[in-house]
């Protein structure tokens, strides 16, 4: 009889912890977003929507997610496949590839800022090569294209590793026999990749995409350090309203939007990349 309760007893602390520190603040944030002067209203959302940076923040955030996430998936897939064929030094390669995982967002942003500022490493190199005749700005409001490109590159550098790690562990779970069987029947390497590896990798891809997309919607420190005021995104606007304008209601409204978008993206991935029951 007692044994029936033991599992619940054991998970109770973590459940309690999550409830206290996740669900309670979540409920409070939602309540904060839908209240103005103590009355239920959508005023915070209205103020958020008419703000001059709102449209930019939405467009910029989606732009980054739409560009970065597919690129990261492709890159990580390619890297994971290449890694399969590495015999000696495989661990070292994997280790070097995952270095950016251990670096904080802000530090990564500052590294890229040091590379891309007017007197940064990139300009120094280009100047030495004779490509440029004087310092060229890349990150100002006058150069939105290079600013976007810089943020995309920095995000790729920083967060491709997380996708890679998930895919590598997924690839390792695929039994070799399938590939060998396909080879026996005369499948080309490309056919083996698209017909055998990719379908079997679907659960890992799903996990990686959900994780990466949610994190990309929440990206903040790297954008703030490279783009600053010139490249508002949803979370940086939430930060501005919270700390600079000290308007907690509008900040909470942004937080709710970010949460809603992330949830929607997760649901889409769960549905589209669903693994049929018979394949599990």
């Amino acid at each position: 009889m007692r044994a029936r309760y033991i599992p619940y007893l054991l998970i109770a602390p973590s459940l309690g912890f999550l409830t206290m520190l996740f669900f309670v603040p979540l409920a409070q944030t939602i309540a904060l977003a839908f209240q103005a002067d103590g009355i239920w209203s959508t005023e915070n959302f209205a103020r958020m929507a008419v703000d001059l940076n709102f449209t930019d923040a939405v467009v910029n955030t989606f732009e980054i997610v739409i560009i970065v996430v597919p690129l990261q998936l492709l890159l990580a897939l390619a890297m994971a496949m290449m890694l399969q064929h590495v015999r000696a030094g495989r661990d070292i390669v994997l280790w070097i590839w995952s270095i950016p995982l251990g670096i904080s967002d802000l530090a990564a942003g500052l590294v890229w800022l040091a590379i891309l500022t007017d007197k940064g490493y990139l300009n120094t190199v280009l100047l030495a090569l004779g490509v440029l005749s004087g310092p060229q700005s890349w990150l100002t409001y006058e150069t939105p294209a290079t600013l976007l490109a810089a943020i995309v590159v920095a995000e790729l550098w920083r967060a491709t590793a997380i996708v890679l790690v998930i895919l590598v562990s997924g690839v390792q779970l695929i039994p070799k026999e399938y590939g060998e069987a396909a080879e026996v029947f005369g499948a080309t390497p490309w056919q083996r990749f698209t017909r055998v590896t990719l379908p079997l990798l679907r659960p890992s891809i799903q996990t990686a995409l959900i994780l990466r997309t949610v994190l990309a919607f929440e990206m903040f420190a790297i954008v703030l350090s490279i783009g600053g005021r010139n490249f508002p995104v949803l979370v940086s606007e939430a930060f501005n309203w919270q700390y600079n304008q000290q308007d907690f209601g509008v900040a909470a409204a942004y937080a709710v939007i970010v949460m809603g978008v992330s949830l929607a993206a997760t649901l889409v991935y769960l549905r589209v990349l669903r693994t049929p029951a018979e394949q599990r």
Binding site: L52, T117, D118, K119, G134, S137, L139, T140, Y141, E142, L224, G228, R229, N230, N240, N244, Q245, Q246, D247
Partner: protein, 430 residues
């Protein structure tokens, strides 16, 4: 058994002794909570240098400005009070007045009468009440700094210490023409103080006010001027938080910022830079003095110690020490010594020239907005972003932003502050 009891007894006794000792040392030290001099280096200078000669031990604790009223309110509601003295900017002490948290310091103000604190500063410390609620502590301001290489491009006949905004524009555009680079810079980054330039310098200089003439024709002309001036401004300005960095690296030749945020440049290379007052416009030389004050919290455990600490910090020697070690300037009459660091002297002279200029027009930090100061700043930065960075017509932007400003002023019921004309009720945009 007896041994155990003896051991227990001696342990308890020692523990008791330790507790008493700890209590005694706690009672001995004063708690000084400050929103200023927060960076670790400045805080250490405060503890190790400025407070060194004070006869009592002082716990110097820092707090982020928005947290100050929260903390004071929490102490008011709690049983034990720990804070004796609060040091903060004028505008940061203001929210403590409606909380009724400050002890009137009229007697202390009387004792400090001979120190030569200017009347206008003392009056600010009353917040429009009959009582002295804080004693001025130290001051700073925003100034301009230029690289000496920029000086040859000054327009003919211009006096750098009495520059006008039109001359600044021709200076910057001459530099752009001759060098091909835009070398004027403003701290318009996410953590920069650009909003203060509009609130305390440009608006007063062009319109003689801040809130009341927000959407006036003079303001419209002013924004048109500034958008034109911006063509000579380094486009990286929207990333600059502290102007000392681009000044030192040579990315900018002429910069405007809070003196504390340019002091590194002046200190490191006093021979390469000049410091000078902010320019003047049609209505005068608008400038924003930055005044920090010292207040005593109601319920302070050590009322007498708190008064003694304020007295100590406002002695001329301490004030000079403060200028030397943290770069804030005296509020009392204190002659800066001849061996003062050249960089500090440059800054001090620029502030002095700005304050004593014939057309000086002091503009205070916003008063009475409480927690909503950030929204006020946003009105000016949004206007800047729309008119200057996105090139929209000033008229439409001003009319729209004026609505936001009006709502903010009505909701906070904040009265007009200098240089807007006194007015009954909430200050309103005309």
């Amino acid at each position: 058994m007896r041994n155990v009891l003896a051991w227990l007894g001696s342990t308890l006794f020692t523990a008791g002794l330790l507790t008493t000792a700890a209590d005694a040392s706690r009672a001995e030290s004063l708690v000084f909570l400050s929103t200023q001099l927060r960076p670790i280096e400045e805080a250490q200078n405060m503890r190790k240098v400025i407070l060194k000669d004070f006869p009592r031990e002082v716990d110097y604790v820092t707090e982020q400005p928005p947290q100050l009223p929260v903390r004071i309110k929490a102490e008011q509601q709690g049983v034990t009070h720990t804070i004796d003295v609060v040091g903060a900017l004028h505008g940061e002490l203001q929210p403590l007045v409606p909380l009724d948290a400050l002890v009137p310091l009229d007697d202390l103000a009387g004792q400090l009468n001979g120190r030569g604190i200017p009347d206008q500063l003392m009056t600010l410390g009353k917040f429009g009440t009959a009582h002295q609620l804080y004693i001025p502590w130290m001051q700073a301001s925003y100034i301009m700094v230029a690289n000496r290489e920029a000086l040859p491009y000054l327009p003919g006949g211009a006096d750098i210490n009495a520059l006008g905004y039109d001359q600044l524009a021709s200076w910057a555009s001459a530099i752009q023409e001759k060098t091909g680079k835009r070398l004027l810079g403003f701290p318009a980054g996410p953590q920069g103080l650009m909003h203060r330039f509009f609130e305390g310098f440009l608006y007063p200089s062009y319109t003689g006010g801040v809130v009341v003439p927000f959407r006036s024709e003079a303001a419209e002309a002013m924004w048109a001027y500034f958008a034109l001036l911006w063509k000579s401004v380094n486009p990286n300005s929207t990333s600059y938080n502290f102007m000392q960095e681009p000044l030192l690296s040579g990315d900018v030749w002429i910069g405007f910022d809070h003196i504390a945020r340019m002091l590194d440049a002046l200190r490191q290379k006093p021979d390469e830079f000049v410091a000078f007052p902010a320019p003047s416009g049609p209505k005068g030389r608008g400038y924003m003095p930055v005044l920090a004050g010292l207040a005593v919290v109601k319920g302070a455990p050590e009322m007498n110690g708190a008064m003694a600490l304020i007295d100590y910090l406002d002695q001329p020697e301490t004030q000079i020490l403060t200028a030397r070690s943290v770069g804030f300037f005296p509020v009392v009459k204190a002659n800066l010594p001849p061996d003062l660091e050249p960089g500090l002297r440059l800054g001090a002279n620029a502030i002095e020239k700005m304050q004593s200029a014939k057309d000086a027009l002091p503009a205070l930090l916003p008063i009475g907005l409480g927690q909503r100061g950030g929204e006020f700043d946003k009105v000016f930065m949004d206007t800047f972003q729309l008119v200057v960075l996105r090139g929209q017509k000033p008229r439409a932007v001003l009319d729209r932003e004026a609505e936001t400003l009006r709502r903010l002023m009505t909701e906070t019921d904040a009265p007009c502050w200098q240089p807007d004309p006194p007015h009954t009720g909430a200050c309103q945009v005309q």
